[in-house]
């Protein structure tokens, strides 16, 4: 029913060639919108990586012109760090992991022809694109881009007298708000499509984990983003018309912003975590030919984690003057939340146990995800102890912690998903050897960057300093050597990325042609042609079983597609 409704909802030109513009920019096809999100997200990823390159060069080789940029001033540095973080979370992780993969996978995996509200979907991407343009434009206005950190704490973010960027912060906020609207529209589609467009026979517990994870992530996002939008409205009024919401002089309170931000901010880290957890579940089952260990446990644990994630936010504010008794409560909830996270890692490892594992490129990425994310999760426990955090807060230890979580999520997760679903998206294969070289160098580079930062942070290295020369105890040769090591590792890691770009773009046309189900996987997206035509399936699939029936005894094949009646 939802399908027939999807059809009369938009008049798509099923059987005549659309013009170039209509096809690439005005399409309501979920696969095209997925590709728009994917490519836009990747393009912003390049910008974010470039920013990281520039500010890491400044940290390793202070006050020397950076090749490809020039001399980095203090305010340049601030703007680059701020927007690096904001871009990577809001314009890379969110659009790629949730919007691109959600759009591509959900209709295919539930076995329908498109999203329930295709025009809403198109609008979502258009608003997202505008948000990206607004963000980038903030670098070219008077005073330059916002430099008050991705968390945008007032009063620094509220008053131009302090941040010296009269327009940047407002544009930044507007971009973030637009981006949120885009994802709310997208999320409406994800939830309704997974609910109402499932193929006949498909029960809720037959949904692949990737669908569940994207849907739960969307719901978490919807539950948490409202208060932040309210905060953004107040902050924007403080910036533009001079209200006093966050100004103690006039009865306001700057810490209010921190509550609104982190009430959203901590659930947000699970919003971006869940989709790659779903991809990893698909990949490790396929490449170990095993059933997902404890499907329901994974599902209920994830929902539980999602709920708990609303009660940990003040662990970001232990030294912001919050009541120490409240800190204790948040320490406890923070340590509690590491239990379900650890459980998920164990469940994935149990899935691998005694499987027949093949180390194809997507599998390498998936395994790396588990290994690296564990480091991030474990270091979070140290930070969650409010006593320890008094020391660690705002040091490079925190920076290393969240990169050991975000890098697996945004970068490793993306590479895992792209290499796994590439044959389906583009109908061709990527090159395995290039993929493996790219994998190993990227992983080595990543660890080379952030292990030194843990040590630096433990040595007390404060994270918001752009030139350590004025801090003799931090400018010691040993600490500086570690900064240089981290930066060189970054250069190595960046140097290998063109290999991926080559592998990705060239093989869209030149790669080995992919059959419908190259990995012998069970889920529905592999049961339609690669790439799927407009409308995806012909005939529409019917579903007889769950997604992970691998290596069933008594069957000739070691896989059992969800739609196979026998």
């Amino acid at each position: 029913m939802a399908q027939s409704h999807a059809h009369d909802d938009h008049a798509h030109g099923d059987h005549h060639e659309e013009g170039w513009f209509l096809k690439y920019f005005w399409s309501t096809d979920h696969k095209m919108i997925a590709k728009q999100y994917l490519l836009t997200g990747m393009a912003l990823g390049v910008i974010g990586a470039y920013f990281a390159y520039v500010f890491r060069m400044q940290l390793a080789f202070p006050n020397k012109p950076v090749p490809g940029y020039g001399l980095v001033t203090g305010s340049d540095y601030n703007a680059l760090v701020t927007n690096h973080g904001a871009i990577m979370i809001f314009w890379v992780a969110m659009p790629v992991l949730i919007a691109a993969f959600g759009n591509f996978l959900i209709p295919l995996m539930v076995g329908c022809d498109d999203m329930v509200f295709p025009r809403l979907n198109r609008l979502s991407y258009q608003i997202f694109l505008i948000s990206a343009i607004v963000l980038v434009s903030s670098f070219f206005v008077e005073g330059g881009a916002f430099g008050g950190a991705w968390t945008a704490y007032p009063p620094l973010s509220a008053k131009a007298e302090y941040n010296l960027t009269p327009l940047g912060p407002t544009l930044w906020l507007a971009a973030v708000a637009l981006e949120f609207v885009a994802f709310l529209l997208g999320g409406i589609n994800f939830v309704t499509t997974a609910m109402n467009s499932r193929a006949p026979g498909m029960r809720a517990l037959d949904l692949p984990m990737a669908v569940w994870m994207i849907v739960i992530a969307s719901i978490l996002f919807m539950c948490s983003v409202g208060p932040l939008i309210a905060g953004a409205v107040m902050l924007m009024f403080d910036q533009t018309i001079g209200t006093g919401f966050f100004d103690p002089d006039r009865g306001g309170d700057p810490v209010l912003w921190q509550h609104l931000f982190w009430f959203f901010g901590h659930p947000e880290v699970y919003v971006v975590l869940l989709p790659p957890l779903g991809f990893v579940a698909e990949i490790i089952t396929t490449f170990s030919r095993k059933r997902l260990f404890a499907y329901k446990t994974v599902l209920y644990t994830t929902i539980g984690t999602g709920i708990l994630s609303f009660f940990v936010w003040a662990h970001h504010q232990f030294i912001a003057g919050v009541d120490p008794r409240m800190s204790n409560v948040f320490s406890v909830t923070t340590v509690l939340i590491s239990i379900p996270i650890a459980e998920l890692c164990f469940v994935y490892i149990a899935t691998l146990y005694a499987g027949s594992i093949s180390f194809r490129v997507p599998m390498l990425w998936a395994l790396a995800f588990i290994a690296e994310f564990l480091v991030g999760g474990v270091t979070g426990i140290f930070l969650g102890a409010s006593g320890a955090d008094i020391y660690f807060h705002d040091t490079y230890f925190v920076v290393a912690h969240f990169h050991y979580t975000f890098f697996p999520i945004a970068i490793i997760g993306t590479f895992a998903g792209v290499t796994y679903w590439y044959p389906k998206m583009f109908g061709r294969h990527m090159d395995e050897t290039l993929g493996k070289i790219h994998f190993w160098v990227t992983i080595a580079g990543f660890n080379g960057i952030f292990i030194p930062l843990f040590i630096l942070g433990a040595a007390g290295d404060h994270r918001r300093i752009f030139d350590y020369s004025n801090f003799p105890e931090l400018a010691s040769p040993e600490l500086q050597a570690m900064r240089v090591f981290a930066t060189v590792s970054l250069l190595v890691m960046l140097a290998v990325q063109p290999l991926f770009a080559w592998n990705f773009f060239r093989n869209m046309w030149k790669g080995k042609v992919a059959e419908a189900n190259p990995w012998n996987a069970n889920t529905l997206e592999w049961q339609c042609p690669s790439p799927p035509p407009h409308g995806n399936f012909n005939p529409m699939p019917e579903v007889y079983r769950g997604p992970y029936e691998y290596s069933q005894p008594g069957r000739a094949d070691d896989f059992w597609p969800q739609n196979s009646p026998t």
Partner: protein
């Protein structure tokens, strides 16, 4: 995840909840959280202020009684929409009249708000006079904005209904939005005015 075995199960049931309604549940939920952000911020700052400083001594008293009266108009509009929904099948013309009545009552409420804002600004109470003023205009203004949207959407829906081309779940969604706008107001009134 049932035990392997070829069970003849493909049947597509009707959706448990129609897509339009799911979408509206999501929208309303996000909106509720949005206003919860404002209201909790308002209460938090009020609770933290030293005794006698909230609302700030310079700010005028808010028109509690007059606004309470205007609130009645909004509540009546909610009841009208509720009755219209129940009577739509039995008495279509009557239901449509009720819906137009709801639009009229909500518009009266909005007219009162405009009048109130103009009066308060004219005695020097503005968004920038204090954090309290900022909250007052932002919260009440945001609600009024939502009420304007609700009036527009309901008017559109009534015209589609009269023409006979509105899917029942879409009408349900429109009513849900209306109930949200009406139901939110008592919360705002209690926190901000009282």
């Amino acid at each position: 995840m049932a035990a392997a075995g070829a069970i003849p199960r493909p049947v597509r049931g009707a959706p448990i909840i129609e897509s339009e309604v799911v979408a509206m549940v999501i929208v309303v939920f996000c909106e509720v959280m949005f206003f919860a952000g404002f209201l909790s911020g308002f209460s938090l700052i009020g609770a933290r202020a030293p005794a006698g400083w909230w609302p700030p001594p310079g700010d005028p008293a808010l028109p509690v009684a007059a606004t309470g009266g205007a609130s009645l108009a909004l509540l009546i509009s909610g009841v009208a929409v509720f009755w219209a929904g129940r009577r739509l099948d039995a008495d279509r013309a009557g239901a449509l009249r009720l819906l137009w009545g709801a639009v009229a009552f909500a518009t009266a409420f909005l007219a009162y708000q405009v009048f109130e804002f103009v009066r308060l600004v004219s005695i020097g109470f503005t968004m920038v006079s204090s954090a309290h003023g900022g909250f007052f205009y932002t919260i009440v203004g945001a609600h009024a904005l939502h009420a304007v949207i609700a009036v527009a959407v309901l008017s559109w829906a009534v015209r589609r209904l009269s023409a006979g081309d509105l899917r029942p779940p879409a009408f349900t969604a429109v009513r849900m939005y209306w109930y949200f706008v009406v139901g939110l107001w008592p919360a705002i009134y209690t926190v901000v005015y009282l």
